[in-house]
């Protein structure tokens, strides 16, 4: 008679064989077929071992063993884990043909259900005492279950929280979560000062709160985030055709820009606008004395620090000649190629990361830094 385990393995063997044939007929390449055939061989081998050892069980005809064996003393309890395992298999299979995220959920579900199922099955065979078995299971599984469950629970709450915050407007977020704080403190106060309150009631209140939060988070997540205004940048405006880099006017991109830089070690060159309207540069290490031009490597992110020592708001701009861009109708047009910092205050500094693809000989007039509104401020940039 075939044992239970061997039936499963024989079924899996047949499934792998059928899959190998189907794969071989429908798909290019032999690696998949070889893999599935290998799996079929391995499963067939395991099936043979199981039949030979009769699932490592006692012999069915050894009555005395059957009557005295602890494993035989009590039938296994109902368990949700086989169902969860099967569900994981389905989700995994669906994930294979749909989305990677679904596949990962399936794998996680299968692994979790498999681990739980294994621990439970093992514990049920520990003795004939169901209570003792349950303790054994808890001792083994709880150190893993509790932290994982807590992490998942906290993750869901935090995620729901974030979805609600991103869904509400900035003002409503403040109002809503202030009210939530008041509600939580009130409920906590009520529970703390009513020792006679049944724990079930307190648990119920908390459960309702958590459920409301999760439901709110799901609804907010489905509805999407509130429109978040993207702060303009000098680069963005330049790309849109706005001539910010030649302008002394203050744009939105110039507002709230950081005017101090910490990472001095990463600076390739420091360019200073002096109070007499001259642009000078310093390099990391001894400077290129005798050079009127700053040299920076090509195709490399160069951090250039602009220091404003003049008595007015100023920006540092870099003229890189021209470039070809597609207009709204998709037609190429040649436009000035300028990059710049934001306007910065007197004695402030601003970092600009510049990556230049072409050498400076590509521009008829070469590349040069300038400061809008200060005619004398000009510094040649050489890109070899």
């Amino acid at each position: 008679m075939l044992t239970t385990g061997s039936k499963f393995l024989i079924g899996a063997t047949v499934l792998a064989l059928v899959s190998a044939i189907a794969y071989g007929v429908t798909q290019d390449g032999v690696m998949g077929t070889i893999g599935l055939l290998s799996a079929a061989c391995a499963l067939a081998f395991l099936a043979g071992v199981n039949i030979f050892t009769r699932d490592s069980n006692i012999w069915a005809d050894e009555i005395a063993s059957v009557e005295t064996a602890p494993a035989a003393a009590r039938p296994p309890a109902d368990s949700p884990w086989p169902l969860a395992f099967a569900l994981g298999t389905v989700v995994l299979t669906v994930g294979l043909v749909t989305y990677q995220a679904v596949f990962i959920v399936g794998v996680v579900l299968m692994l979790a259900a498999g681990a739980e199922w294994t621990a439970e099955a093992w514990a049920e065979r520990a003795s004939a005492d169901a209570t003792f078995n349950a303790e054994v299971r808890s001792r083994i599984a709880n150190p893993l279950e509790f932290p994982l469950a807590a992490a998942i629970g906290i993750g869901i709450i935090v995620y729901a929280f974030s979805r609600i915050m991103l869904w509400l407007s900035k003002t409503n977020t403040v109002v809503f979560f202030s009210m939530m704080g008041i509600v939580i403190i009130t409920v906590a106060f009520f529970i703390a000062y009513r020792p006679g309150l049944k724990s079930r009631a307190a648990f119920g209140a908390i459960a309702v709160g958590v459920l409301a939060l999760v439901a709110g988070g799901a609804a907010a997540g489905l509805d999407g985030e509130r429109p978040i205004k993207v702060h303009e940048t000098t680069e963005g405006l330049s790309n849109e055709g706005v001539d910010i880099c030649s302008s002394t006017e203050k744009f939105e991109a110039d507002k709230k820009a950081s005017q101090s830089v910490g990472a001095r070690a990463s600076v390739a060159a420091t360019i200073t606008l002096s109070d007499d309207g001259q642009l000078t540069f310093e390099l990391n290490g001894p400077s290129q004395e005798g050079s009127d031009a700053l040299t920076l490597p090509r195709s490399n992110p160069n951090n250039v620090l602009f220091v404003n020592r003049s008595d007015d708001y100023r920006r540092l701009s870099l003229d890189l000649g021209t470039r070809t861009v597609a207009d709204e109708e998709g037609v190429d047009e040649v436009v000035p190629f300028l990059v710049c910092t934001t306007l910065i205050d007197t004695d402030s500094e601003q970092n600009k990361t510049i990556t230049i693809g072409a050498p400076s000989i590509a521009a008829p007039d070469g590349y040069y830094f300038f400061v809008p509104g200060v005619e004398s401020a000009r510094l040649e940039l050489v890109v070899p």
Binding site: S266, G285, P286, G290, S291, S299, T353, P384
Partner: protein, 412 residues
């Protein structure tokens, strides 16, 4: 009847004469013999400049101390293992705490560490000094070669226009040079062992290192930060030459473009170069059919955004990340093994048709990725939007290769 101890002794001796012991002995002798290598161009124990000398001096202080300490520890361990090995004897009396011994064994290592720390820290501080440098050279690493450029400056006895080369850095002997290094893709590390310690070159950062050579010569180096598939093929050399030779080298590098003679093989090679190579490799002064300067656009094809400038390709001795020689073995030896006073002069001769290592150069042009492992198959580069790392196989014909070599031979 043999006693048990006699049997154990025989067994122990048999093990000492067994194959494992012999293999260990041979391996140990091999490692020892490796220390006697004569042809070791990247030898930190053979300093050729003040910075490398400082490192060498520190090594000669630290290594003997570390060696003696290591030897003492190993001898003690060996004595304890042999003397107190399990022979069935009773477990000796157990004690806890020997304050005097513990204090001594704490103080002695502390004193040794202090003795090592003071010269180590002072050497590190001295190595980081670059204020006395008189010449600036920019070094930019990318997979898997080094670009070297000399900005316009008063240093290096004056450089009027930027010089760009690759693989080989030329410096005037006895002049402290400031290397300002960075990287275009991943972290690399610049190391010329006979001139100074290693320095990481990191994208977005500029790191400095001081180089100075005491006498003319060619000093080999190697990227020492694992940087991908061909990390082992990312080499470099520093050529230190006499001041007059250095002046001649600068003039060579700043010489204007010389177009090939009309109707020559090199002229055909120029057209082939324009069609096949100029989209990535810059040759300064090269013009297209309409007379416009050709500006290479490697950023559109190469992940690092750069390819070696070939304006004066045949003034260099190596190519492909300094991993292959442009010179035949005989001509190479003539330069590399030259006496210090003539090494610069011979280097300046560059590569001519008689000395060209055409075998390796032809192989490179025929199929570069077959010589040097590179991510150069654009169809397999989804992560870089099809941009290659290294030089791809251009599927050039043998005629095209002949033409290109004729053209490149004139790039001096």
């Amino acid at each position: 009847m043999e006693s048990a101890s006699t049997v154990n002794e025989v067994s122990r001796r048999a093990k000492l004469r067994g194959p494992s012991a012999r293999i260990a002995l041979v391996a140990g002798l091999g490692v020892l013999a490796a220390g006697c290598a004569q042809d070791a161009p990247q030898d930190t124990w053979d300093p050729a400049g003040p910075n490398a000398q400082m490192i060498n001096d520190l090594d000669w202080l630290v290594f003997p101390i570390a060696g003696v300490v290591g030897l003492i520890v190993m001898v003690f361990i060996a004595i304890i293992v042999v003397k107190f090995r399990d022979r069935g004897q009773a477990i000796p009396e157990q004690t806890h705490g020997k304050p005097a011994l513990e204090i001594i064994l704490t103080i002695i290592p502390a004193l040794i560490l202090i003795g090592i720390t003071i010269p180590t820290v002072s050497t590190i501080m001295a190595l980081s000094e670059t204020d006395d440098t008189e010449c600036v050279v920019n070094v930019t690493g990318q997979q898997w070669w080094w670009e070297i450029d000399y900005p316009q400056q008063d240093g290096c006895s004056g450089i009027a226009s930027p010089i760009v080369t690759s693989g080989q850095m030329v410096i005037p002997v006895g002049t402290p040079v400031l290397v300002r290094g960075t990287s275009r893709d991943v972290i690399h590390s610049w190391w010329i062992p006979r001139l100074n310690g290693k320095k990481d070159m990191v994208p977005g950062r500029v790191h400095t290192v001081r180089l100075e050579a005491d006498e003319p010569g060619i000093y080999a180096g190697q990227c020492t930060e694992f940087c991908g598939l061909s990390h082992a093929n990312m080499r470099m050399e520093v050529i230190a030459m006499l001041p007059d030779d250095f002046e001649a080298w600068k003039a060579q590098q700043l010489a204007p473009y010389q177009p090939p003679a009309e109707a020559s093989l090199a002229a055909t090679g120029e057209a082939t170069f324009v069609a096949q190579c100029s989209s990535c490799h810059q040759v300064n002064g090269l013009e297209d059919a309409t007379g416009n300067l050709i500006i290479a656009q490697p950023q559109e094809r190469v992940y690092s955004g750069a390819a070696p400038n070939l304006s004066h390709f045949m003034t260099r001795n190596t190519f492909a990340g300094a991993s292959w020689d442009l010179l035949t073995d005989e001509c190479r030896a003539n330069v590399w093994d030259a006496p210090p006073d003539v090494v610069g002069e011979r280097y300046l001769e560059g590569v001519n048709a008689d000395c060209l290592n055409s075998v390796d150069l032809r192989n490179w042009l025929r199929n570069a990725p077959a010589m040097k492992p590179m991510y150069a198959d654009a169809e397999k580069l989804e992560k870089t939007d099809g941009l290659v790392r290294g030089m791809p196989n251009l599927a050039l014909s043998e005629d095209q290769i002949d033409e290109l070599i004729a053209y490149l031979l004139e790039r001096k």
